[in-house]
């Protein structure tokens, strides 16, 4: 047992904390207000090596471990959850499956520029009529000689408006259910790939998502990731990693809301004493502090399992479930502690509240996480 961070992790944490506090946090409210994609921050994250944290140096990445990624995600998301998810998608949902499932040629062509931050990635699984139920999707890739011809629509694709490269999960044999799904790496500027209007969302408004339309897009078979029929496995193993990143994003949001509430409660006076000196508020803050710590430990534990090369489906589901629910509860209470001030956008907590909600939905809803966790319990 060893719960300490190593030097490399400490060093990265210091660097990211400074970047997040100095460059990200000051503009987060404006980004949210203006729905503006933070191209300048994404460029800085590329310089700092934050877009391919776990990718080996030989493939353009930073060659760090999952815990380093988790630490960085919490810091960036505490400053701006939108910037956090832009980073998370590129790391977990694009670089990760390319590392795990890509062949050497695919890694050289697609992974290297993504990990270096020269290009940006997106992950395309959800559809208008298929979110959690991946086997119900309708986008189809039909084999035609050395190519596949792809048609269909993908929904709510984070980084969709900006992405250069995408990981696509779709059917190659619609009648075969889960076993008929395959994964592809897609040039988002290629023929037959079209982007819809950016979505108007409750939160994470500086991260843009949109529909992606495939109009008989012709993609060489060399862009298939893994074997035909392995796509469901690619998607699920990718989400096992992605959920750790989203848990860390939720932790960042929760921590920012908690710290704002605690500071406010120490300054603001009611009935002649500081708000924190009222026990009802003090205990609320104590529980927020405890639950954030618990969620962080679950997240670090999932990261440790991944680093040890163990299957971590259950650990990932647990950390994502708890961290996202804690973020929502903490952000809600943070507004309550701020009273009327919490409800106006002059204070940051209403943004944290709106940003927190998505963490209970994307990369597997809380309901899906509970199904996963229960399935492990009932396996005997």
């Amino acid at each position: 047992m060893d719960l300490s961070l190593n030097d490399e992790q400490e060093q990265l944490l210091r660097m990211v904390k400074e970047f997040a506090q100095r460059e990200v946090k000051p503009i987060a409210a404006a980004l949210d207000r203006e729905h503006r994609y933070p191209a300048e921050l994404v460029a800085r994250m590329a310089e700092l090596g934050l877009l391919g944290i776990e990718v080996p140096v030989d493939y353009g990445g930073s060659g760090l471990d999952t815990l380093a990624y988790v630490l960085a995600m919490e810091e960036i998301s505490a400053a701006c959850a939108s910037t956090g998810v832009i980073m998370s998608v590129n790391n977990s949902l694009v670089c990760d499956p390319l590392m795990k499932w890509g062949n050497e040629e695919q890694k050289q062509q697609w992974l290297v520029p993504l990990a270096a931050g020269d290009k940006l990635g997106c992950f395309m699984l959800s559809e208008p009529e298929a979110g959690s139920d991946a086997a119900a999707q309708k986008t189809v890739a039909v084999r035609d000689g050395d190519d596949y011809v792809i048609s269909g629509t993908k929904n709510w694709i984070t980084n969709g408006p900006q992405a250069d490269t995408g990981i696509l999960i779709c059917m190659t044999e619609p009648s075969a259910g889960h076993r008929g799904i395959s994964a592809f790496v897609i040039d988002m500027n290629g023929q037959g790939v079209r982007r819809g209007q950016k979505d108007d969302k409750l939160g994470i408004r500086a991260s843009h998502s949109c529909q992606i339309f495939f109009d008989d897009a012709r993609v060489p078979a060399s862009q298939r990731l893994g074997e035909e029929g392995q796509g469901f496995k690619v998607a699920m193993s990718t989400l096992d990693c992605g959920r750790i990143g989203i848990a860390a994003q939720a932790l960042g949001i929760a921590r920012a809301a908690f710290e704002a509430a605690a500071s406010y409660a120490c300054e603001r006076k009611t009935f002649g004493q500081r708000v924190i000196d009222h026990q009802a508020v003090a205990f609320m803050l104590a529980d927020m502090d405890t639950e954030i710590d618990a969620a962080r430990l679950l997240t670090w534990r999932a990261a440790a399992a991944k680093m040890a090369g163990r299957r971590h489906t259950r650990e990932s589901a647990m950390c994502k479930l708890m961290a996202s629910e804690v973020a929502n509860k903490v952000a809600k209470n943070a507004i309550q502690i701020h009273g009327g001030n919490g409800y106006v956008s002059e204070y940051p907590v209403e943004r944290h509240y709106r940003d927190a909600k998505i963490t209970e939905i994307y990369e597997g809803t809380s309901e899906i996480q509970r199904i996963v966790i229960a399935s492990y319990l009932l396996r005997g």
Partner: protein, 378 residues
């Protein structure tokens, strides 16, 4: 970053698990009804070092880290909460306090090795509220008489008092709050009959009455007037051990509930196939793992010599809360059967309530955290 127990410790835990399966779990219900744990069982646990978990081996202890000690307490609690609380309070409060004092009082060394057998555990009799309200909450007075002291007064709700061989008591002396180690057979000491408690019924909670109990000065623990300061460290250790007990209770209840849910059929299918049941199980499991990680974190910090207070407070509030909620859901999943003493979940729920409500209650731990937050972010 590594959250796993070391291999040796896992083996040790497995041994304790076997012992619990054979000698504890099958009888825990009887002991609960009888409101006592047989001396033979306490002896058997003593031979495995469970009454001196963290004492160095050359002092007759098992020489375990705090992390491993917590893992064993958790294991015991999965079989019997009352027994686990008795062992936790002895190791993490009574014995820990005497061990800390012995560093500057070598005369106490002999007491420590005698306490390691567990034949008669050491109960820790700090009045609830003493840390918050100061010595005013202490209902025992100590008067110096030459090279000894005379103690008068009472200590209420002392867990393990009915079976204890020794007590750590806190008294108001001329210099302020002062702690003493007294023997159960000391003249003038009266232990009440075990109280009729809601949970932890076999742990022998009772009141102490002291009338002119004479204690030699060499059995004073720590400097006169410093007892409540010294006790703060012990309270944090006890919070930690309470968290470990809560984890075990919850794990036991979760295992029983998931087993039951797979056997019990309603509407023609096992109730485990209903999402409403799966949801409860998933939440219990997540709450349990969070509780265990908070416990392990606090224990690890203790082993590293880092400050324990906040980490222990987090572990205690979360773990005991999760145990009460989880054991209650486990009972619910068992339906009418869960409400009877035929199944062990109702006992686990009563034991969990003991953890949440007594020994300062979770409110004390929340106050510790709130003060720390105001310090950190104010």
């Amino acid at each position: 970053m590594d959250f796993d127990l070391d291999e040796d410790d896992q083996l040790l835990r497995d041994t304790v698990r076997q012992l619990c399966e054979q000698s504890v779990r099958p009888h825990a219900g009887e002991w609960d009804e009888a409101r006592a744990i047989p001396a033979a069982v306490r002896d058997e646990l003593g031979r495995m070092g469970l009454w001196a978990l963290r004492q160095p081996e050359d002092e007759g202890g098992a020489g375990l880290s705090t992390v491993t000690a917590c893992a064993l307490v958790e294991e015991l609690a999965a079989a019997d909460g009352a027994l686990a609380m008795l062992i936790a309070a002895h190791n993490f409060a009574g014995l820990a306090h005497v061990a800390a004092a012995s560093a500057s009082q070598p005369a106490l060394a002999g007491e420590l090795s005698a306490m390691a057998s567990g034949q008669r555990p050491c109960a820790w009799a700090l009045a609830e509220g003493a840390l918050g309200s100061g010595e005013g909450a202490l209902a025992i007075t100590a008067t110096r008489q030459g090279d000894a002291w005379a103690l008068d007064g009472e200590a209420r709700h002392v867990l393990g008092a009915a079976v204890a061989g020794r007590f750590v008591v806190f008294a108001r002396a001329e210099d302020g709050p002062t702690a003493f180690l007294i023997d159960a057979d000391a003249g003038g000491l009266h232990v009440s009959a075990p109280l009729r408690t809601h949970g932890a019924r076999a742990a022998g909670t009772a009141h102490l009455g002291l009338q002119g109990v004479r204690v030699p000065d060499e059995r004073r623990l720590g400097a006169p007037g410093r007892a409540l300061t010294d006790a703060a460290t012990i309270v944090a250790l006890r919070e930690l051990s309470w968290a470990a007990v809560a984890c075990g209770l919850l794990r036991g209840a979760l295992q029983q509930a998931s087993g039951y849910a797979q056997q019990r059929e309603q509407f023609g299918r096992p109730i485990a196939s209903f999402q409403a049941i799966q949801w409860k199980l998933a939440d219990m499991a997540t709450g349990l793992e969070a509780a265990w990680l908070l416990t392990v974190q606090a224990a690890w910090r203790c082993d590293q010599g880092r400050p324990l207070g906040e980490a222990a407070a987090r572990a205690r509030t979360w773990a005991t809360g999760a145990a009460v909620r989880g054991c209650s859901e486990a009972l619910q999943i068992h339906g009418g059967y869960g409400y009877t003493r035929e199944y062990p979940v109702e006992r686990a729920l009563r034991d969990a309530r003991q953890l949440e409500a007594t020994a300062g209650g979770s409110a004390t731990a929340r106050s510790v955290l709130a003060d720390a937050i105001a310090e950190r972010l104010g």
